[in-house]
Symmetry: C2
Subunit: 540 residues, 2 copies
């Protein structure tokens, strides 16, 4: 019943991990020194605490014995997301916090009943879709409750397509590729391709305000969501399926990003698009990060935005090129090419267009004009193909680095163009300073993506040698330094990874005391027993 | 201090009203019969109840004697919006419900203080921007309070432009043309042009989720709003100015459409665009309303949407052409032109493009291809110019009709393309049936506008002979019939006029019991005394 097709302690399927090349190994050794390897532990060797018994009325409400698992493997698989601290915990061989059971109700009616029964019995509930949260969104935090279940939405995988209105209703348990397959068979696509695409689910996309790699073109998940059903302990809340309404505050936007604290998302209405006739990705080289940002800004503000825009800073460009294969261009040929163009250094920019053949060409020409005007030089299709080929590989690479005793993490924020420089400098500096405290070398790199008319997101990746046995404390100090720098610069604490447990302490800075009060008021009304996802999003 | 530049009992400035032409007079006489004229009453002859005294601490908190008016003229001017029932009440010569005073705090700090003082003293507060609500949004309903003030935002008219990020921060009291003037002087436009543009304010746009005539291109007001400050009795709630965030439910979207029940909007961040180099509007003739809708759908779904799209049904087309001057094309020449094209009948479609000269031409060619493919025939620029010339004139025409004893009202809804036919038929039928009950002739006409990829809005205008002395009851019965038809068809109760008092009874159908509960919970937290705009939006 429950999925077991991915590794419990790594990203996705075990076989998906490829090896690091010799160039990458050498660079990591030179710059970070050698870490103490942290090998995975086989699932059967992992110890997990014995479960508390789940009340019979909860089991009955969820759909009976077919709808519950207390199997250790299922409990371990629902004990964590895929953040760096999660992966470290999973490699300890001991899972001290796991749900007492996994419930998988067969339909939304059973979800209502199960949640009401949990509220009555005082059982905490953590909704679980793909389990890909990198911010602690599915941690089994019990709050004041003695028992906790993971509510797995795997069974809710319906897909209904309305080709005339170009909308679909999707079940929350559909993974990215499952939703795409259902839509593709009717000639449509969702166009939503986050790095977690292969495992994350529709319900998770909505609950976390997911943004995909092509969201500049197709729109972020919140922007393509037309209607939602939220199922909580007090019943169901459904928004209308109309294209727009002016009937008061938007409840759809209250459910989007609610991360399971108000209830479970049981139905998602989305706008869909025809499967693109053509996809065209290509690489460009901008003279500097600042000039690249100016180009991205002009693309957005002059209505010439590609569907994918990703601009790496100098450091990310350098590291990507060193990680052979990642940049998809032979280093030597690439260097001579740039010399010919009078460039020795710069920032890689990936641009992609999707749609009808004619429209792709027309839009591409508009974009290219502005890319050239901004001083970028074209690298042709091969960096684009390489990016496309590796677009979901980042998390697998992370596993390989963790194997080698390297601390590796990512975080993202966003700001107005007028404030991006300041934010970029502040976060980079905070990360470097915090990692330097460990005494080892460090790499901090960044890319700009999710380009808007008024600003863009900055996505940081940082690496240093892990402090064996103290990885989580080390991570916590670095993460806190970065978060404080973001808050001080007026950026948002998260552009698309959501809040979960990791960012909850910063919500007061993000929305203010009164904003937090408003969210708590809604929470208390929709979940009066407080069983829904304790310790997430609005934790004190 | 307070504005007095518009008629108290009509739309906008008195001199703006032009006369009906002889064709229009004849058509109205033939189809509706002659109504009993309802003349306006001079302001100085209007009776208004004596005001309750406002506590001294409220006056002091608002900014002292300069920040309050208890003058009868100001009280009458703040006693109603511009809906049909408002205009009828204003013509009775007796204003039984008026605010006891008008407060106009000089800045946002005084707004906080004034609201806290009102909460402490038990004084109800109705926020007042342009006073153009057509759904009873500014009615002085006292709820359980003995005293009521209108809080006029006229003094908050700051405008700060960030040309790099292409955003601006605008004060809530700026009227449409004032905001445009401030932005235009820096080379930018908001692109927000609702029919109420000349009088409605920035705060009102945000509080009611306004949509403009060019919102297909520039985006509805909620879509161009980047940040908001809500000032309530408990303090201020500010959202970040970042282009996007995934930090939980959207509080910006909770403030948008809050219609004064949670607090007063005191600052609005918006995306702005360069002033368009070129504006091009033109007329087309679609074979039928259904075929015109199919064209609009293809324009949206095939990425060829003009910035303005407005498709009249047969009846609106006929009436517009009869109202000489409104269609801007001579009836006789027009008929022969259509005969030449093999058309005797059809539906007028206005399409408009704005932006850089080259982009306008490119986008116009894309649109024209689909218009022709859908069977529409071009009418050239003159219907477009006529529409542009008369785009803000509708409410003035309404005044002329009311003078003649005609009941005239508009309402709007929206739905998915797959459900528009059903919604159109149901609302048309409900309006005709309800008006037929009065025994007089009736006109029901509709246009499609605000075209999205998944659906569009329907905007109905209906006329019949008013029942002298019983206009409001007559209106109420017709309005209720239409609202019930909308609810039964799954449409939204309002696409852009908002909820106010008139649609409040339908909010339970719109968002469900639990949705209403969530809004009430927020209201209770942000306005525990319940002083903010009683009887609006979520009234029982």
């Amino acid at each position: 019943m429950l999925r077991r097709d991915a590794a419990y302690d790594r990203w996705g399927e075990a076989h998906a991990a490829s090896a690091l090349g010799p160039d990458a190994e050498r660079m990591l050794g030179e710059e970070l020194g050698s870490g103490e390897p942290l090998p995975p532990v086989p699932l059967e060797a992992v110890r997990v605490a014995a479960p508390q018994p789940i009340p019979a009325e909860v089991v009955a409400a969820a759909g009976g014995e077919d709808a519950i698992s207390t199997d250790d493997e299922d409990r371990i698989r629902h004990a964590a997301g895929k953040g760096y601290p999660d992966l470290i915990r999973m490699r300890s061989g001991e899972v001290s916090e796991a749900p007492d059971a996994v419930l998988a109700p067969p339909d939304a009616d059973h979800v209502v009943a199960a949640l009401a029964a949990c509220a009555a019995a005082g059982v905490a509930v953590v909704p679980f879709g793909g389990g890909t949260s990198v911010v602690g969104g599915v941690e089994p935090l019990r709050g004041r409750f003695g028992r906790l279940v993971s509510l797995d939405l795997t069974a809710l995988r319906e897909a209904i397509v309305d080709p005339v209105s170009m909308v679909a209703r999707l079940g929350p348990g559909l993974r990215g590729p499952e939703a795409e397959a259902a839509l593709n068979s009717a000639g449509f696509t969702l166009g939503h391709f986050p790095q977690s695409y292969r495992y994350a689910t529709i319900g998770g996309y909505a609950a976390t305000r997911s943004a995909g790699q092509a969201s500049s073109g197709y729109g972020r998940f919140d922007a393509i969501t037309t209607s939602l059903e939220l199922t909580g302990p007090e019943g169901r809340l459904r928004t209308l399926e109309t294209p727009h309404t002016a009937a008061g505050p938007s409840l759809r936007e209250l459910i989007l990003g609610s991360e399971g604290i108000l209830g479970v998302i049981t139905d998602v209405g989305v706008r869909i698009r025809p499967v693109p006739e053509r996809r065209r990705y290509e690489g460009w080289f901008a003279p500097s990060f600042a000039e690249g940002i100016a180009i991205a800004r002009s693309l957005a503000q002059e209505d010439a935005l590609p569907d994918v825009v990703r601009l790496s800073d100098r450091e990310e460009t350098r590291v990507s090129l060193a990680m052979s294969g990642l940049a998809g261009i032979r280093r030597r040929g690439f260097d001579s090419y740039l010399r010919l163009r009078g460039r020795s250094d710069g920032c890689m920019l990936i641009a992609g267009w999707e749609g009808e053949r004619e429209a792709v060409e027309r839009r591409r020409q508009l974009s290219r004009r502005l890319l050239r005007r901004g001083g970028a030089v074209p690298l042709g299709g091969s960096p684009g193909h390489a990016w496309e080929h590796g677009r979901y590989e980042g998390p697998h690479l992370r596993d390989l680095l963790i194997d080698r005793g390297i601390l590796v993490e990512t975080l993202e924020t966003s700001h107005l163009y007028g404030r991006l420089d300041e934010l970029y400098a502040a976060v980079s500096r905070a990360l470097r300073t915090a990692m330097a405290a460990g005494g080892a070398g460090a790499i901090v790199m960044c890319h700009l993506s999710h380009v808007y008319r008024d600003g863009a997101s900055l996505y940081f990746t940082f690496l240093t040698r892990a402090r064996a046995g103290g990885e989580i404390e080390q991570w916590r100090a670095i993460k806190a330094a970065a978060c404080e720098a973001i808050v001080a610069s007026g950026g948002t604490i998260t552009h698309h990874h959501a809040v979960g447990r990791d960012h909850a302490p910063y919500m007061r800075s993000e929305v203010g005391e009164l904003g937090l009060d408003a969210l708590i008021a809604v929470k208390e009304r929709l979940d009066p027993a407080g069983i829904m996802n304790p310790g997430k999003l609005i934790a004190a």
